[in-house]
């Protein structure tokens, strides 16, 4: 039984600094993540991710250019995002040589164990629909490559 962790990586033909800007600049984040990203990239900064007419808060944890970037999201509104009520997304950039970077992403917090029931229901209602549309849109983006 695998742990509740998603661990994926990809080799990118670009220097770490370029990959860093792609994953941290809000204008670029809005091309691979949310429709709209209102966020300042510094530790502890609070922002907002918009997916269509829905969205949710995001909190930056680690900013260590150009090697580590992490944030928490999917936590209930009005609560401090901590382990147990949110998902933690951690990016690690490792240069393979001057022109190539290995980008790794680890997502944890899938068990969301301390969510109040009402929040769980709200999350289920909002995200099931939101995610479907998001996936469709992403499929189109990827297909355009």
């Amino acid at each position: 039984m695998p742990g509740l962790m998603i661990d994926r990586d990809i080799l990118i033909e670009a220097p770490a600094e370029v990959v860093w800007r792609t994953i941290t600049e809000p204008a670029q984040m809005s091309q691979w993540f949310a429709d709209q990203v209102d966020l300042v990239i510094e530790p502890g900064a609070r922002g907002y991710l918009k997916f269509g007419d829905q969205g949710g808060p995001v909190v930056v944890e680690t900013v260590d250019p150009p090697t580590r970037f992490s944030f928490r999201w999917n936590h209930p509104h009005g609560e401090e995002p901590v382990a147990g009520n949110s998902m933690l997304v951690e990016f690690t950039l490792t240069p393979e040589d001057a022109e190539r970077t290995r980008l790794r992403v680890i997502e944890t917090g899938h068990e969301l164990r301390s969510w109040p029931d009402a929040e769980k229901q709200r999350y289920a209602d909002e995200h099931l629909q939101g995610w479907g549309e998001f996936l469709d849109r992403l499929d189109t983006l990827v297909a355009k490559r």
């Binding site: 039984m1 695998p2 742990g3 509740l4 998603i6 994926r8 990586d9 990809i10 990118i12 033909e13 670009a14 220097p15 370029v18 990959v19 800007r21 792609t22 994953i23 670029q28 091309q31 691979w32 993540f33 022109e99 970077t101 980008l103 992403v105 997502e107 899938h110 068990e111 969301l112 164990r113 969510w115 769980k120 999350y123 289920a124 995200h127 099931l128 995610w131 479907g132 996936l135 992403l138 499929d139 983006l141 990827v142 490559r145």
Partner: protein
């Protein structure tokens, strides 16, 4: 394709001790709580608690045989959990693919510009 936010299921398999109990059930088929308690580094009472959570999440079922209660994995539910995680992993693969395309395009454009400047 996307993860069903079925939190009872996630919290059931999110605990390492519970995963250990689940692992034993997956590899040994139908077993009793006392059999499990002999093979894990925690108390019989803890085993019973973990079994109750797993049962509530639908991941395992039970059957009475004489005086004994035997537990077994419900493959459909376990499959559902695995598929949901696979779906989220695929979603991240897609995001990484978009990041790769964007970064490589930026890098190619920068190289092109510096060549033109020379």
């Amino acid at each position: 394709m996307t993860a069903t936010p079925d939190d009872e299921l996630w919290s059931a398999i999110g605990d390492p001790s519970r995963c250990q109990v689940l692992d034993l059930l997956v590899s040994h088929g139908e077993v009793s709580a006392s059999w499990l308690a002999e093979r894990v580094p925690f108390s019989r009472q803890a085993v019973s608690k973990h079994l109750a959570v797993l049962e509530r999440s639908g991941l395992i079922g039970r059957r009475k045989q004489g005086r004994e209660v035997l537990y077994q994995v419900q493959p459909g539910r376990l499959d559902q959990a695995t598929r949901a995680m696979t779906g989220r992993a695929a979603l991240w693969d897609q995001r990484l693919a978009v990041i790769k395309r964007l970064a490589e395009a930026t890098h190619a454009a920068t190289k092109e510009n510096s060549r033109n400047d020379e």
